[in-house]
Amino acid sequence: MSAAVRVLRRAAGIPSVKVSGGILAAIALLAIALPWVSPNAYLDINFDRVLHAPGFAGMHLFGTDDLGRDLFVRTMMGIRVTLLVAVIASIVSLVIGVLYGAVAGYVGGRVDAVMMRIVDALYAVPFIFFVILLMVVFERNFLLIFVAIGAINWLDMARIVRGQTLSLKEREFVEAARLNGVSTVRIILRHIAPNLFGVVIVYVTLTIPQAILVESFLSFLGLGIQEPETSLGALVNNGVKHMETAPWVLLIPGGLLALILLCFNFLGDGLRDLFDARQSR
């Protein structure tokens, strides 16, 4: 889509977008590539090297954890899982939220009222309770975490998209299309959705850190990713147990988690500046 290309080209000119986007891309690439290169496997347990400090001995660059597993490889695996959860949850919320919000906003009237009351009702469900219920009923499952996180994020997205759609549908180019009898589906796909792009992409970059936090929080509580799989949240959880004797087990994954969150927030802020400037042009 040409509009997306234009937006990305302009976004790449903003320093905060350039720096934070670059760091995130580097982290993601390293997390994907390095576990293949490392001599250590992330599942290898070795009780001879429990809680070793970071160093080059045995290539344990980040040290080892309480079961003697290589923390470097586990951290990379954790980043993979964390980013995957965040991206998939955001895509789920993007697709459901944009379609739901655009339909409610454009169709309006009673349809809009009913659709938005459903959103209100879903907001009222306590999230942690909902997740615990899911875990109990369906057992712990990787997929369920995506579903649970996407299921809360799309509510916000739907509200934002609906508001934008309401103002877009009063715009003259939409009226011109309506006047010619252009179908509702085509109006939503050609006239409404592309003009939502700006707001939506900003909002997505801001929901990703939210999803990461929720996943970490669930894993920290023991409700998320299960051993021997891991995520940054699970690693932090494990690190807390040993923070007095082996602080690196907490600080390294925790620090990376903070860095990733920070980068996504900067990215979102930079993109928001871009679109605010475009609107006031």
């Binding site: 011109a176 010619n180 009898g181």
Partner: protein, 586 residues
């Protein structure tokens, strides 16, 4: 010594000169018009005088205000200069007022910020000043919020804020462009009145505006002064071709120039149409009241009135964008459903619309070729290559080359965007084209070009047009017949020649007087309409116009006038047959 002396002013943005060697001098009490099209550098000049240019601009030359140099001055010195010497009125009064501050406080804040008065003194001065700029009941209005005032009243407040520090020079940058012609006439009158003790630099794209209100005129083109002289000299004997084209482009009333009514079959008929919108409580706002009209083939019918007269609501109801409360719209003898969605494709194809805001009516994410092609997808499906060929042909007809096919709307100027909008409307060969203020947002010469384009397309395609405008001067050259609307009612209906030479309704006469004609002498006999359009929520009893009518009598307050036919005119006025409203300056 002059009050303001600009010598060799050059303003550059990254090597591109937007103002190039401009010199001008204003004496105390003098008024000078700075005229040019968008992009001619007139606003940049004003900002330079105030020292408000952005840091990316580089400035050469000299700007001297009462012996003080502006260029290169520290901003603190400039504050003092701006407080005492120069003030500015901007184009859009809605943007220039803080919506969270009462009117009186906003004006007083200027005095307090410059330390020119104590809080108690400021209050009295503000109320005096608001009264002086013509705000009715200034003590009450000082406590009003900006959204409670009309556009004209807000512009009066802006003028009050500019004058409150008693500056020597007032710069007004397009002060009336966002306003109706009637309100424009009032604001220009006000600027004339206050000029007794203040010099005025009036910046506008419309030569008609400076005609009756400035002593000298400078015409700018691409940053250079192409002509300079007394107002009478410029208008009576323009030397530069650019000046001449600006004068030609200004709206004017010339009854002889109004086209004769063509013979044609009735195409579109509106019968007893009313539109109302729900208002707070159980009330409703009657935007259009019982309008009848017939549009014949090949004919242009103009609908004219101030903001709030219901002309846009009428057009939207005809097109099916707003549901009518009562009455019918019929096309080729068949009554149409009230909503565009329920109409047949062939009807939708035959009724097309061009909007006021050329950029707002084009989807910013689509290329020109796709925008113009879209109606074809509905009305004449076919393969892409054939469509694109037709789009290119259509663009040629509206004066745009093939290079525009791949452009996005933000790469177009206002005039080009409006041509694209016209191409989109005409590509399906409609029978009726509705133009809702289609040239109001455009500069004078561009406006003239678009009007000529519409006229030639009308000839070529045999179009009928409904042309909606607040300015009788704009519609004069193209309208066969005219409907004048006031508060939702059609107060006068006549063919163009009759209406422009012998108006029967005092409101029509007032609209004619408000047209800023490019004729310095013509302005002397004008009586701009006083007051504002009353709220349509509480229309006046009797004749709706009686609150502003200079010829009001007791019967106008007591009885609603019925429509009467006098010669070729249908008019709603009790005194239509006794008043002589012929316009003397023709």
């Amino acid at each position: 010594m002059s009050l303001l002396n600009i010598d060799g002013l050059t303003i550059r943005y990254a090597d591109k000169a937007v103002v190039d060697g401009l010199s001008l001098a204003i004496e105390k009490g003098e008024s000078i018009g700075l005229v040019g099209e968008s992009g001619s550098g007139k606003t940049q000049t004003a900002l330079a005088v105030l020292g408000l240019l952005p840091a990316t601009a580089s400035t050469d030359g000299s700007i001297d205000i009462a012996g003080e140099q502006v260029i290169g001055r520290a901003s603190r010195d400039l504050d003092r200069l701006r407080a005492r010497r120069v003030a500015m009125v901007f184009q859009d009064p809605a943007d220039a007022l803080n919506p969270y501050m009462r009117i009186g406080d906003q004006v007083a804040r200027i005095l307090l910020a410059h330390g020119l008065a104590s809080a108690a003194e400021a209050k009295g001065q503000v109320i005096d000043m608001l009264g002086a700029v013509g705000l009715p009941d200034p003590e009450r209005q000082a406590r009003a919020w900006p959204h409670q005032l009309s556009g004209g009243m807000r512009q009066r407040v802006m003028i009050a804020s500019a004058l409150i520090t008693k500056p020597d020079l007032l710069i007004a940058d397009e002060p009336t462009t966002a306003l109706d012609v009637t309100v424009q006439a009032q604001i220009l009158e006000l600027l004339d009145a206050i000029r007794r003790d203040t010099a005025l630099l009036l910046i506008t794209h419309d030569l008609g505006v400076v005609a009756g209100h400035c002593q000298r005129v400078l015409v700018l083109k691409e940053g250079r002064v192409v002509e300079e002289g007394t107002t009478a000299g410029i208008f009576n004997a323009p030397r530069d071709p650019h000046t001449r084209s600006l004068i030609d482009a200004a709206p004017r009333i010339a009854p002889a120039a109004a086209p004769a009514v063509p013979a044609g079959e009735p195409l579109l008929a509106v019968d007893d149409l009313s539109v109302s919108y729900p208002a707070s409580g159980r009330k409703h706002l009657d935007a259009v009241k019982n309008i009848d009209l017939t549009l014949k083939s090949n004919e242009t019918l103009a609908i004219v009135g101030e903001s709030g007269s219901g002309k846009s609501s009428l057009a939207r109801a005809i097109l099916g964008l707003t549901r009518a409360r009562g009455g019918t719209v019929s096309f080729l003898g068949q009554p149409l459903p009230g909503d565009a969605h329920e109409r047949s494709n062939s009807v939708r194809r035959d009724l097309q619309l061009v909007f006021q805001d050329p950029l707002g009516s084009l989807n910013p994410q689509m290329r020109v070729s796709d925008i113009v092609r879209e109606p074809l997808l509905v009305h004449d499906p076919g393969d892409r290559a054939a469509h694109v060929q037709r789009v290119a042909d259509m663009l040629t007809h509206v004066g745009l080359g093939d290079e525009f096919l791949r452009r996005y709307p933000h790469e177009l100027s206002g005039g080009q965007a409006q041509r694209v909008a016209i191409a989109r409307a005409l590509i399906v060969r409609p029978k009726v084209l509705v133009c809702d203020e289609a040239v109001a947002a455009l500069d004078g010469t561009v406006r003239r070009q678009i009007l000529e384009l519409l006229q030639s397309l009308q000839q070529e395609y045999g179009l009928s047009m409904l042309f909606i405008s607040h300015d009788l001067g704009v519609v004069c050259s193209i309208s066969h017949r005219v409907i004048v609307m006031y508060l939702g009612e059609a107060v006068e209906v006549a063919d163009g020649r009759t209406l422009f030479s012998a108006p029967r309704h005092p409101y029509t006469r007032a609209l004619l007087d408000a047209v800023p004609a490019p004729d310095p002498d013509g302005h002397k006999n004008r009586k701009p309409l006083s007051g504002e359009v009353p709220s349509p929520l509480a229309p006046p009893p009797g004749c709706v116009f009686h609150t502003r009518c200079p010829f009001v009598e007791q019967q106008c307050v007591d009885r609603v006038p019925v429509a009467r036919h006098i010669n070729n005119t249908t008019v709603r006025c009790h005194r239509a047959d006794e008043l002589d409203l012929k316009v003397p300056f023709h």
